[in-house]
């Protein structure tokens, strides 16, 4: 099962960054995210797998596909970037990957011997909102403020400017 998921992730992520058609790249990204959520199920994090499915696969990919449809033609192929750039980027990526893999294989990981904790919804909710040692209320608040700010920023950036501000920007161009 792990081999199936990891093969899907590797193949589709390579296809995502090399596909010449932009809509296909988005669909390959969707496959990568769904198989990642399968990995989370294998690791017994059911809540996070559900979040991954709904937020990544359901939200972000749909948002990306919408913006693709708004900004480019579906059948449009983009020209391949120069072979020089491709080769040097591949060298950089391969070097980094090989170095990291050597380090990972070299390191001796030692697990704790304490008993595993059962991750259920009650525990997740309680520790998200607790102020104790194991509580996460501060990052929770920070992330909620961040989400609010991102929402406001997205609306402000993407809305059409009023005639006055558009005139101002034209003035600035001249």
């Amino acid at each position: 099962m792990f081999i199936l998921f990891s093969a899907m992730i590797v193949i589709f992520s390579i296809l995502t960054v090399t596909s010449r058609k932009i809509l296909r790249a988005a669909v390959f990204l969707l496959f990568v995210l769904v198989s990642t959520s399968g990995l989370y199920f294998m690791l017994n994090y059911q809540f996070l797998a559900a979040v991954q499915l709904t937020l990544y696969a359901g939200g972000i990919v749909v948002l990306i596909i919408f913006s693709i449809l708004l900004t480019s033609h579906i059948s449009q192929k983009f020209e391949s970037s120069g072979w020089k750039k491709n080769i040097f980027s591949a060298i950089a990526a391969l070097t980094g990957a090989i170095l990291s893999i050597i380090t990972i294989l070299d390191y001796k990981f030692s697990a704790t011997t304490e008993a595993a904790k059962e991750v259920n919804m009650k525990l997740i909710g309680k520790s998200l909102l607790s102020v104790d040692y194991d509580g996460y209320v501060l990052p929770f608040e920070v992330i909620s403020v961040l989400l609010l700010a991102a929402m406001v920023a997205a609306i402000v950036i993407a809305k059409k400017g009023s005639p006055k501000t558009i005139g101002l920007s034209k003035l600035n161009q001249e």
């Binding site: 990891s6 590797v10 992520s13 390579i14 995502t16 960054v17 932009i22 790249a25 988005a26 990568v32 995210l33 990642t36 990995l39 690791l43 017994n44 994090y45 809540f47 996070l48 991954q52 937020l55 990544y56 972000i60 948002l63 990306i64 919408f66 913006s67 693709i68 900004t71 983009f78 970037s81 750039k85 491709n86 980027s89 591949a90 950089a92 990526a93 980094g96 990957a97 990291s100 893999i101 990972i104 990981f109 030692s110 697990a111 704790t112 008993a115 595993a116 904790k117 991750v119 525990l123 520790s127 990052p139 992330i143 989400l147 929402m151 920023a153 997205a154 950036i157 993407a158 059409k160």
Partner: protein
């Protein structure tokens, strides 16, 4: 359920995914595909967090909560980036990074 799979397999998988994202980030010239590469990178980091949490510290929940926060950051980042991309498209009628250079003086 995950018996028999060493933690190194998860880490190598995340590494491959991360550097695939880096490769896409360096070679792509369309803003949306660059955004997709960034999503790949963030996703591979999540796999790392969860593998470490499950294999090395199963009595704690740090990795799980941090990947939850990474997912939230990725979502807000995607929303803002797509707003910026649509604004750029409205102004330049292209989202190719090499054609959008008007703020350079």
């Amino acid at each position: 359920m995950n018996a028999g799979i060493p933690i190194q397999y998860f880490l190598i998988l995340a590494t491959v995914m991360f550097f695939t994202g880096v490769y896409g980030f360096l070679t792509r010239r369309n803003l949306i595909t660059i955004l997709m590469s960034v999503e790949l990178i963030l996703n591979s980091v999540n796999i790392n967090f969860l593998a470490f949490n499950r294999y090395l510290y199963p009595h704690k929940l740090e990795g799980m909560f941090f990947s939850l926060f990474v997912i939230a950051v990725a979502a807000s980042e995607a929303a803002v980036a797509i707003a910026i991309i649509i604004n750029i498209y409205r102004r330049f009628t292209t989202i190719n990074v090499e054609d959008v250079n008007e703020m350079k003086y």
